[in-house]
Symmetry: C2
Subunit: 343 residues, 2 copies
């Protein structure tokens, strides 16, 4: 009997790998909030976090140490533990009969791994061979608002600049931003531990490795490749500049896009108004547009500043500003939505 068939018959046994991390905690909250049916919940993390208790549906659950034997009987394993852990343990989970939904970049570009944003390509889920990948948070925040446009009038070019929150680098990075800022305000020195650069009242190019051949960093390369894969459009021209800003937990994107045919701001607004997962916040009169503070804790991606691109010369370019909670739609929520499609 396949894993899928098993799940269909009864509530699944669920494992969360990296349960104590920033995404792990939000996974628990999303599962609760969406009343995801769970026969058993197994929380797994590094030995350092083993023994911790995390609440789920009002009851404390003890975190166990992740190991080779962790996956016996597990139906769905939600990985939010980084690439190295995913590479080592996802195949173990699959061998034990689980379906893995991985939040790391380890398998995203593999041919036989669906890269899924349910609003866009839920049908891809069915072709999995044990592992389904959850896309990069910037790729999700880009793809959700652009898809309703792309399916009507193919987007040929995307130029985006990101304003990425500390949450993308995990709970320790969020804490570092807070501590570094408090030290700055108190006039104390602070030595960065998580980020390569000072976080307080500063910003910096995303501190993943630069590919010397292209000049793009690993985050940008992921965003570009993954957006193409999600849209199943390998020829789409896209460029990203990924920047870390002193914001706690929502990513913002300034996007300029060029379609195959002419398109207006009103048409984009209409296409997005009814699209799933999007909330338009575009009130020019009161200068109210998407902000991280208002996107944090929300499931929807906020979209505003929708306007004809002023550098456009043939009516095919539009600019917009999108902000999404990196830990929710950018990570935990999207993973839970994928899991819901497995039921």
């Amino acid at each position: 009997m396949t894993a899928n068939a098993k799940i269909a018959r009864r509530p699944p046994v669920l494992a969360i790998i990296g349960a104590t991390g920033a995404v792990g905690v939000d996974l628990l909250r999303c599962l609760e909030r969406r009343r995801f049916p769970v026969a058993e919940l197994r929380l797994l993390a590094s030995p350092r976090s083993a023994g911790k208790r995390l609440p789920f549906m009002g009851l404390p659950h003890v975190v166990a140490s992740l190991g080779e034997e962790s996956f016996a009987g597990v139906d769905i394993a939600l990985f939010s533990a980084g690439s190295a852990t995913a590479k080592r343990f996802a195949p173990v989970a699959v061998a034990a009969g689980a379906i893995v939904i991985d939040n790391s970049s380890a398998f995203r570009m593999a041919e036989d791994v669906p890269l899924v944003v349910p609003e866009i390509n839920a049908t891809e889920i069915a072709r999995h061979a044990g592992i389904i990948a959850n896309p990069n948070c910037v790729a999700i925040t880009t793809a959700v608002p652009l898809w309703p446009i792309h399916r009507r009038n193919p987007i040929q070019r995307i130029v985006l600049a990101s304003y990425q929150a500390a949450s993308g680098a995990g709970a320790a990075a969020m804490e570092e931003l807070l501590q570094a800022t408090r030290a700055y305000l108190d006039g104390r020195p602070y030595e960065p531990r998580v980020f390569g650069h000072p976080a307080a009242f500063n910003l910096f190019s995303h501190d993943t490795a630069i590919d010397p051949a292209t000049g793009y960093n690993a985050e940008e390369t992921k965003v570009m490749a993954e957006t193409r894969k999600i849209f199943a459009d390998p020829g789409m021209r896209i460029s990203a500049t990924c920047v870390r800003v002193p914001v706690l937990r929502a990513h913002s994107l300034a996007i300029t896009l060029t379609c195959a045919r002419p398109i207006g701001a009103d048409e984009v607004r209409r296409l997005l108004a009814d699209a799933p997962g999007i909330r338009i916040v575009d009130d020019g009169a009161s200068n109210h547009f998407p902000m991280p503070l208002e996107a944090s804790g929300r499931d929807e991606i906020l979209v505003g500043r929708i306007r004809r691109d002023a550098s456009d010369d043939d009516g095919r370019s539009v600019a917009l500003f999108a902000v999404g909670d990196q830990l929710l739609k950018g990570a935990a929520l999207n993973a839970v939505e994928i899991a819901e499609h497995l039921l």
Copy 2:
């Protein structure tokens, strides 16, 4: 005798209007640092600030209240007091025989007012009719690194997204960012007074008025129009997304540009390496790129992340990241450089 001829014969009598503001204070420091010759320094501000003392060359100078009689004998009046004050008092200063260098947007787009970045169009200064305009800080930070490219291989299109510091909204805004952040960390509420939105760990679309016809805000409209005027290229296609971020005093820009002819990243790096007012910070191996923290207090605009635009399809597009101290090259320093050209 013309004002220019007077100045040439002896050190000028200098007035600073808005002396107690963020730009005013940096004007004093720039004049000192560059040993600008001054026969007499007159500090002017609103009645609220009159009586304050500001140091210049080691001596306290008393701030006087700005009025109709303030400009008798003044050779050069450096205005850093906002549009309304400039509109009212710049003509008064000119009538009294002074040359005005105005940091506000009041006169920038007027036909008979040169809009000057000395590295680019110092020759424009000579055609002034009493008023010379200092460009918008984002326009300066855009124009300085793009000019050496534009003069060799005309830039046809610019798409930019800004990450603007609190300093652009003045000293009170910088103080608000600090206070709002401290309140956030202490768990206290904070009611924004300067900005329309919460500043702590948040960002927002630049809170100038949106033009309902274009969807662009006043800051973006200035950046686009002024860059065209500085480059004397009214047909240049440019679009800006201006965003306020929780940074204290340097503006960052993610820029994608398209030239008339093919251009490579190495060529851009070569063109910028010897250009005035620019410092290349582009070390991919150590992930060291321009940051507000390192640009603050520096005269040069830092430029890095120079790379072929990944969304390019014909070799004519390049991406880069520029960071400049908004109060120095973005305001005070550029104004003092213009004044130096008057001597």
